[in-house]
Symmetry: C2
Subunit: 218 residues, 2 copies
DNA sequence: AAACAAGTGGAGGAAGCCCTCCACTTGTTT
DNA sequence: AAACAAGTGGAGGGCTTCCTCCACTTGTTT
């Protein structure tokens, strides 16, 4: 019976200075995670937000919780990209648009992959949104296949494969990383098309949880 | 004027027990690097070789030097794969065989990418072999393009792109990782072929030094 | 404006990493 | 077999990381 319209955070009123600090912390975290990856130290984030570490820890009791909060927007954006695509009447356009957009997000944000693959025991929302995205990907692939645009031997794991591969792209400038990612996606989509395709080696049995870079998080 | 037939290591005679320990260390290191990546601790490597850390450090004054030694075989194998391909009269077969083999090596060994991208200030051999491999890749690509099998808008950076992408593949079993890598390479090679190719987005200007996973090494 | 809960910063604890030191053991040489 | 250099193991130094503690400050309430 909270008065809050959506979201969960409400909880406690929070003093105005505290609220400002919290905002600055999340902004700094997003910035640093995006440009340097999830390995930035808590001290660094604190310094960039102009607060002490204690303040940071008072608001986010663990680094994971900060990561979760920092990427909440991103995963919602992700989910909406999938939702939009599901509303698109053109199956092939929907399919390639989703992959292009998600891969672009991944390429531009160095923390993206790590954030989405590390475990977040506290955040059910996260897992839930991810599961829905996964389901949406499958649906889009099925439609594209049914429409004859996507090769018949395409499997869901090929999406995982592309996301893993795209996660391997790192460059020192965001622009370069994005360009590289775009080219990779274009090449892969070309290969995914149902043109006179020679047979592929059997699809590996993966699952979305494999989109993981072990040393990245934590 | 050493009596040693090839290699460099000779240097000091080394007592037999020490020689055995050294061998065991390198074997353990190779094993652990391959299965767990470059992040395994020196203590771990020492324990797995049945020696104390001091022994390890006496033989390899720094972790980097151990990595270098552990991957010496691999880079030579790499170089010979390139050399073999350069001797192949069929340009397309040479081209795809090289990429398949190198990517397979990378997929099977979790430390591979990190080892080849971190700096090894002491080992000129390493950089030299890498440079030669780079040159060989370029030559093979040129030949494949000249023969009309490789699309005209292919650039050297596309090789880098594939290696980065392939480096993103991680799975908990070696078999799975290899299967995934094989499929990725097959898809990419399909896209590289000179069949009625629609234009690609412009190639990113990379360079082989970008095949890097920042948090991996050291 | 007084009073108090809420908020704050920085020192430092616990753990993990690479690497060093040194008293002890062991292979090798004469 | 005696003597000695070479080799060894494990404690711990220095650093970095995440996170906690507590004396102090500040916004808010009556």
């Amino acid at each position: 019976m909270t008065t809050e319209p959506s979201r969960i955070p409400a909880a406690e009123p929070l003093r105005v200075d505290a609220r400002n600090n919290r905002t600055r912390i999340v902004e700094a975290a997003r910035d640093l995670f995006a440009t340097q990856g999830l390995d930035v130290t808590m001290t660094d984030i604190a310094r960039h937000s102009g607060v002490g570490v204690a303040t940071l820890y008072r608001r986010f009791p663990t680094k994971d919780s900060l990561v979760t909060e920092a990427f909440a927007e991103q995963i919602e954006l992700c989910a909406s990209v999938v939702a939009d695509a599901l509303a698109d009447p053109d199956p092939w356009r929907a399919f390639h648009t989703v992959l292009e957009q998600v891969c672009a997000m991944q390429a531009v944000d160095r923390g993206f992959t790590g954030a989405f693959t590390s475990r977040f025991p506290d955040s059910a929302t996260f897992d839930q949104l991810r599961a829905r995205a996964e389901q949406g990907f499958g649906e889009l692939a099925d439609r594209a296949k049914a429409s004859g645009h996507l090769r018949a031997d395409f499997t869901f794991d090929d999406i995982t494969l592309l996301l893993m591969a795209n996660g391997g792209i790192v460059a020192d400038s965001r622009r370069t990383a994005l360009a590289a990612s775009r080219r990779l996606v274009a090449l892969m989509l070309h290969a995914f098309r149902a043109t006179g395709a020679e047979p592929l080696p059997p699809a590996p049995h993966l699952g979305l949880q494999h989109v993981v870079r072990p040393p990245a998080a934590h």
